[in-house]
Symmetry: C2
Subunit: 600 residues, 2 copies
């Protein structure tokens, strides 16, 4: 009877999530893509396949061609509902990141600006083998030798008929990488390549036939800002990819932990590892984060679409410009979320960039503070992510007031703490910058020396606050089904407290917390929430999970038949039980130990 | 002139490290191995090589055979100086982890105890293809149906002449893995396999010809303890591997950061990224950790050798038994250090085990506390890692007293804080356990619910304290050359403060810290130490680095010719500039978009 009740509870939760749009596979486009790939032999998977690089590239290319034939979404459908395009990309990424990447990267890349090897641009998707044209960002010099800064040009790389490189173009494949080997990343160098004047993409500046430079922007910085806005889409897509990776990893980890048994009280059956508090604490906060990020990435994409429609409409309002800046600030800090990806993901090398990008987020926040101090403007942005900073003075006087663990289990508690944290770090960053400048440092050095512990922490606290804020609003929104609200509220509180626990030292440092009670309460609340969510964990990942074929993990199949699936996958591998082809070399020709030993 | 001075300073530091034993390549065995591998065509590396699985396994095997021919160390040499064996393994690991692993793992593994698929043992090195015998840990039943617990048996797997599996043995290859693919990991299952009685390894227990069980140990737990001691060697080797990975990763990262230029103050040349405070803060603490861990792993191995000699001498003293327990406690917590490995390392899945192993460390510490409270014994262990706990009462009354940043730059400051931290967490863990038991929980559940925030943190603080303690002693040791002491002291202080900064919230929670000053001082001290060590960073990694051939990273070569080396490596790859073999498929047969589109 207990089992039947549990099953009904599971069914009910999955159903509720399904109806309110959380469930993958609830949108027709997902169902359609998953089904098409699973039924198409070109997309079949073989366990333990060891595909050579050349073959892997070819297979990815053939699959890409097939995707064009499927044409899952028409342009009209995308215009009517742009989220569908994001969903489609997500489906392809879940199947294979390299294929998804190749699908998105059709001839939209940056290349080089001068012909020496230090200037060769690496890592350009598709350029290794097949790209025939590239968009090159280069310094634009007019005949009067004046440099007008970066502009973009269309440059032909290879003959589309033969794929051979054109004169003056050195283009090639950078070879095998840690991951994404289905994607051919390339490099390119140009030597006096001549392109027609029309190949300058002239949205932000053009050159007349007689060699004069003309631009619709008076302020070169505003011109640069406009270009930056257009880059946010890529950056937000990357965070979407990180969220998808997190969902896949969690699906495998939680299903595995619910079925894998290890040890137990004396004289009883072994218990699933998910029953251990330690394991709950290591996994379930990531589950909460997956829900927070799923909602965040959906809502930030909606903001981006609004901005892009404004761009297409040639909207030139202040609001449009402000929205571009705000989305840019969010996009620059969001890359940090990539850290959440499972350790197994070898593709964690964007960190360098992320730390540099975070500076743009903190600069954005500092500029608001500056505007308020200097011009007395009210801090208020189109997406309202910074509005609370206008009350900074009052917020900085607030303190942690929860007195019981039950009080702490409300996401309003970490949300209030985050508001204080962002205000505190903003003020500290500003002070630190002023100190550095007062000690005679140039701005470049002053900014560099204000990143660690200040601006960098500020940017991360800002985006974590915003992610929590959006999730908190969803859980209290009257549009959210009442039956779903309790579990979403628990996820939201857990996400908030767990993220906040990385910042406890700063909260003590600035006296928002004092004494040992707050830490005890926060820790107890986290453990209690983990334990309350534990029994729903499998249902909650089933909501986020793609089909088993797409997931492609025998230990993470939906049926929970861990050992059976693992075993059958191993036995399906090639040459599992066979001797190696070099077995004779092993059995005969025994080495004479020390025969190569130098006489010391 | 400045450059000449810098060069002399660099030379001097490297020389000093060389003379005092820090420098890799200073030991003849390292020079000899590196040179032999570099000159042997069988060990040649080709850039961007894409080797199929079968070939990779064969190559690793051929190289292994060649290593036996070289026989770099004789048994006599190892007995005279066991550190040489650790050094040799390290050299092979630096060349290729899979080869190093295969070299160590010659027929010393655990296998299964019952014939169903859940009991199949996976991940056994060498078993996939070539192992002919295995050591199997199995439950021992005597004819009277009494189970005597785990014992080890030698079982034949394959015919040594043909490599075909023997009757009743199902043995195979688990296939391609994320990494270490040169190593053939296998699985095995047994069905009524009969082995002679002599194949029971009878050190801890034996069966007489008439079926009676006899053992030299009266207490079954002590028998188990003896077996555990013997496993510490493997666990410590794993931490050595992590240290080696850290050294390789740091060598590449620091050399790259010293040569890679990016941005700079207006109108000046771009500056090396290592000049940025943010980059220093992200790398240099790991450099300090590499030195701390290098010293730690060397000194813990010396402790292990002492223990092993005792075992060979059949030493049965209390000290010998106590040392076994202490080394086991250290080994169980040391795995945690694997986290330090560079994110690029895909092989980070030991975490699960580590969290479980950490419990043995905290149990060890709790048992000391228990013994003191119950029997009034003095806390004092053979390696002295727990002696300070005897003063726990006094230590818990101490507070952070440094008043200036300069005071904080002494490793005595974080060391004192760590002593307080371990005492605090030990007391808290004990209290937590008592609470759980008092609330009526079984011991199994009480222990599980005391891991997060308590026992787990305790075990980590203990090992970090011990690592810092050993490094601190080295920097103050009169045997350490005076000329090296300043730089080692800086590394030690940085390692201590940086490790401690993960525990600041706990230090505030327990009131060891209060107010904002301590955090400010610690943060300023970390940044100042990073900046002071920055100019020595390249010399300090050169000290730890193997030769360029072994390092095998064009961006991390000792000559700093980043772009030249990267470029030549790319151009040496196969088919870099060639069209793909499937170019015709690309150029012709264009897909009809949407031709497979289902009619919705």
């Amino acid at each position: 009877m207990k089992e039947v009740n549990e099953w009904l509870k599971y069914q009910e939760l999955v159903e509720r999530c399904w109806r309110s749009g959380w469930k993958a596979r609830c949108e027709p486009i997902e169902l359609q893509v998953f089904k098409a790939l699973e039924n198409d032999p070109l997309f079949a998977r073989r366990p333990g396949e060891d595909v050579p690089l050349e073959k892997m590239r070819e297979l990815t290319f053939l699959r890409l061609k097939q995707l064009f034939r499927y044409n899952f979404l028409t342009k009209e459908e995308v215009m009517a509902n742009p989220w569908k395009a994001v969903t489609l990309n997500g489906c392809l990424m879940m199947y294979d990141c390299a294929l998804g990447g190749k699908y998105i990267l059709n001839k939209q890349e940056f290349v080089i600006n001068s012909p020496d090897i230090e200037a060769a641009k690496f890592w350009v998707g598709n350029m290794g083998k097949t790209a025939t044209h590239a968009v090159v960002f280069a310094q634009l010099y007019t005949p009067d030798q004046v440099c007008h800064g970066l502009h973009s040009f269309v440059v032909a790389l290879r003959d589309p008929k033969t794929l051979l490189a054109l004169p003056g173009v050195l283009v090639g494949d950078i070879g095998k990488k840690l991951g994404l080997n289905g994607l051919d990343n390339g490099f390119a160098l140009f030597h006096n390549v001549r392109i027609p004047r029309e190949n300058l993409l002239n949205k932000t500046g053009d050159v007349t036939p007689d060699g004069r430079y003309v631009t619709p922007f008076k302020d070169p910085n505003k011109r640069f800002g406009e270009s930056l806005g257009a880059l946010s889409g890529g950056r937000l897509s990357f965070t979407r990819m990180a969220t998808i990776n997190l969902k896949l990893a969690l699906t495998i980890a939680i299903r595995f932990s619910a079925t894998r048994r290890q040890f137990g009280p004396k004289n009883t059956e072994e218990i699933p590892v998910l029953e251990y508090q330690l394991q709950q604490w290591r996994l379930i906060p990531y589950l909460a984060a997956a829900y927070a990020l799923e909602h965040f990435s959906k809502s930030i994409f909606m903001n981006l679409f609004e901005f892009q429609i404004g761009q297409m409409m040639k909207e030139k309002s202040d609001r449009q410009a402000e929205m571009g800046r705000e989305i840019h600030a969010i996009g620059c800090s969001m890359n940090r979320l990539g850290d959440l990806r499972n350790d197994n993901d070898p593709n964690c090398t964007y960190e360098g960039d992320n730390n540099v990008l975070l500076q743009q987020t903190s600069n954005y926040l500092l500029s608001w503070l500056h505007a308020k101090h200097r011009d007395g403007v009210r801090i208020e942005s189109p997406l309202h992510t910074v509005d609370f900073l206008d009350d900074s003075h009052k917020i900085l006087e607030s303190r942690f007031t929860a007195r019981t663990m039950e009080e702490c289990m409300d996401s309003a508690v970490p949300l209030a703490a985050y508001k204080w944290l962002v205000c505190f770090l903003l003020e500290e960053s500003q002070k630190r910058l002023e100190q550095e400048m007062a000690s005679g440092k140039e701005e470049f050095e002053a900014r560099n020396n204000s990143q660690v512990y200040y601006c960098r922490s500020l940017a991360m606290a800002y985006i974590e606050h915003n992610c929590l804020q959006r999730f908190h609003e969803l859980t209290t929104d009257t549009d959210t089904p009442a039956g779903l609200r309790p579990v979403l509220s628990n996820l939201c509180a857990l996400y908030g407290l767990w993220s906040l626990s990385n910042h406890m030292a700063t909260l003590y440092q600035g006296n928002y917390l004092s004494g040992r009670k707050p830490t005890d309460l926060v820790q107890m609340a986290i453990l209690t929430l983990c334990s309350q969510l534990k029994d729903d964990a499998v249902a909650l990942v089933d909501v986020l999970a793609p089909t088993d074929f797409i997931l492609n993990s025998p230990i993470g199949n939906a049926d929970g038949q861990l050992y059976k699936n693992l075993w059958s996958t191993v036995m399906q591998g090639s040459q599992v039980l066979e001797r190696p082809s070099w077995w004779k070399e092993f059995c005969s020709d025994k080495p004479v130990v020390g025969s190569l030993r130098p006489k010391l």
